[in-house]
Amino acid sequence: MHVNLYLQFLISGLTLGSIYALIALAIVTIYNITGILNMAQGEFVALGALTACTFYSAGFSLPASFLISVVIIAIVGALIERLAINPVRNASSITLIIITIGLSIIIRGLALLIWGTNPYSLPAFTQGGPLQVFGAAINPQSIWVFGLLIVTVTGLFVFMEKTYWGKAVRACVINRMAAKLMGINPDILSLMAFVISGALGAAAGVFITPITLATYDMGFALGLKGFVAAIIGGINNVGGAIIGGLLLGVLEVFGAGLISSGLKDAIALIVLIIVLLFRPQGIIGVVIGRKV
């Protein structure tokens, strides 16, 4: 009985954790390329989810709504980079953090204006009841979420290893100045980082909506947890971000299930503070070794 319960918690935790991992991936991507901690990442998730809901209820099919939403939020990411980040790209990092916080507030306010405070929903991607595995019930949507994480990570891996732009990104991560001297245009990379983050955030938002519903203020908590995941992984480490996200998701579900459900949102914050106090370089460094 207890084993089943734990298995159930583990699966829920990994589902939630996959979403955190996706958000953390986007945060790490922007950080690695531009050196900016993008505090507005969670808002991309909320915008993506809400946009898809709107198109779906306007009669578009689910896959079409998903694609439209991803494209729109990628464009939003590009606009934000061009309008608010690029003009001040040489400013101090404190200025840039404050700007992204300001952007997140603007986006949240606009989302409130457009969508109001009511939650929106999308149907599950595949119909049918939960799958039974060793007595634990798996929501089919969870499998979609895992799938998205796997596809994203694979896609990112192929992009980084096989394409010219991927190599340019890696060069930028190792040494931004040297990359520039070798003729890599950091301007285009920065734009690309925000486009990828917008698309990733939107995808994560659409995939989680059938489970959690979509509200205008969902982005803040999700973005924060993405940050915690990224920091657990050591902020510039892609593998670390994924492990950090999954770990955080599992911790949250077990904490909420075994201790108190009121604690759920506090867990991520407590983890963040513990990591910052005792192992600010990230805890995954031990396992994986050198940073990517």
Partner: protein, 338 residues
């Protein structure tokens, strides 16, 4: 008229204006707004030192403000402490919390303090809400006694107005002295180039920690006074949005200036009051939250177009020139001192 005597004339006029204002003002509403401006100014002066001198940002100032307020509320109502010891606790407690968080995070080059303070801010707010008996939960604590200093009981708005005035003046003088002291110069050196500062033997982590603790200390001071003024507190005014508002106030007034925080707070409080009137006119079914769009816009536009803040705009040429000279002189004195 020579500049110097004009300056003293202005200061004299301002002091007289300050003293007679409560007698001229007919409405308690305006007086209460001035008091709130004074309280926020205390908090924002501290944040201004952290941001303008140490080059760090805190997204959790409302939490330190709240810890100060709750320390007063809990100690006076639950443990029947005297009002002055509780007030001291309100100042010391946030500074202690800041020291614990700041120590490890400020040693790092990245802006981890921003994230740590963000987390602390939200955690503290959760604690106020979920603290049960101790914090009174979402409905908060009532029955905070009036502040008593000697035989003086601060039970009316005009008394508070003078009390805040004194504190703000003290903080102004303190920050001005800091600006001209060795610590102020070192902090500015760190902000301009941490590598150069370190190379000149400045321990940047220790100084940034001092600035952070100082900012929490002032936030706690503001919070303690706030609790004695309102005499009832709930978690709502100490949330993340308030922390952001403090950052906006510091930024639009001008970082690393003495008058900037007062200007920034006054503008934001005035804007808040105006928006409370205007927003329902244009968006009839609006909840209060819509104003955050304006706050976000102000923050982003200021940071892009005028990151040095508004208070530096008027006296542009002369001051920036003399500041540059001062900077050179300071650099010289720093290097001579070594």
């Amino acid at each position: 008229m020579p500049r110097e005597s004009l300056k003293y004339l202005l200061i004299a006029a301002a002091s007289i204006g300050f003293v007679i204002l409560p007698f001229v003002l007919e409405s308690n509403y305006l007086l209460s707004i001035l008091i709130i401006i004074g309280i926020y100014t205390l908090v924002v002066e501290g944040l201004g030192v952290l941001m303008g001198y140490a080059g760090q940002v805190s997204f959790g100032q409302a939490a330190f403000f709240g810890i100060g307020a709750y320390a007063v509320a809990i100690l006076t109502t639950r443990y029947s402490w005297g009002t002055i010891p509780a007030f001291l606790a309100a100042i010391v407690l946030p500074a202690l919390v800041a020291a614990v968080i700041g120590r490890p995070t400020l040693k790092l080059k990245e802006h981890y303090l921003a994230l740590a303070t963000l987390a602390i801010g939200i955690l503290v707010h959760i604690f106020f809400n979920e603290g049960g008996e101790l914090t009174g939960g979402p409905s908060g604590l009532t029955g905070i006694p009036y502040l008593k200093i000697g035989g003086l009981v601060f039970d009316q708005d005009y008394k508070f107005y003078y009390l805040i005035g004194v504190f703000v003046l003290l903080v102004f003088l303190g920050v001005r002295n800091l600006d001209r002291s060795r610590i102020g110069r070192s902090l500015r050196a760190i902000r301009d180039s941490e590598v150069a500062a370190e190379a000149n033997g400045i321990n940047s982590a220790a100084l940034k920690l001092k600035a952070f603790v100082f900012s929490a200390f002032l936030a706690g001071l503001g919070g303690g006074i706030y609790a004695y003024y309102i005499t009832f507190i709930s978690p709502a005014p100490f949330n993340f949005n308030m922390s952001i508002q403090f950052v906006i106030m510091a930024v639009i007034g001008g970082l690393g200036t003495i008058w900037g925080p007062l200007l920034g707070v006054s503008l934001m409080v005035a804007l808040g009051e105006v928006l409370r009137w205007l927003v329902p006119l244009f968006i009839p079914n609006a909840g209060g939250e819509y104003q955050i769009i304006f706050y976000g816009l102000i923050l982003v536009l200021t940071m892009i177009f005028k990151p040095e803040g508004l208070s530096t705009g008027w006296r542009k040429k002369t001051v920036s020139d003399s500041e540059e000279q001062e900077q050179k002189k300071e650099n010289l004195t720093v290097s001579i001192r070594r």
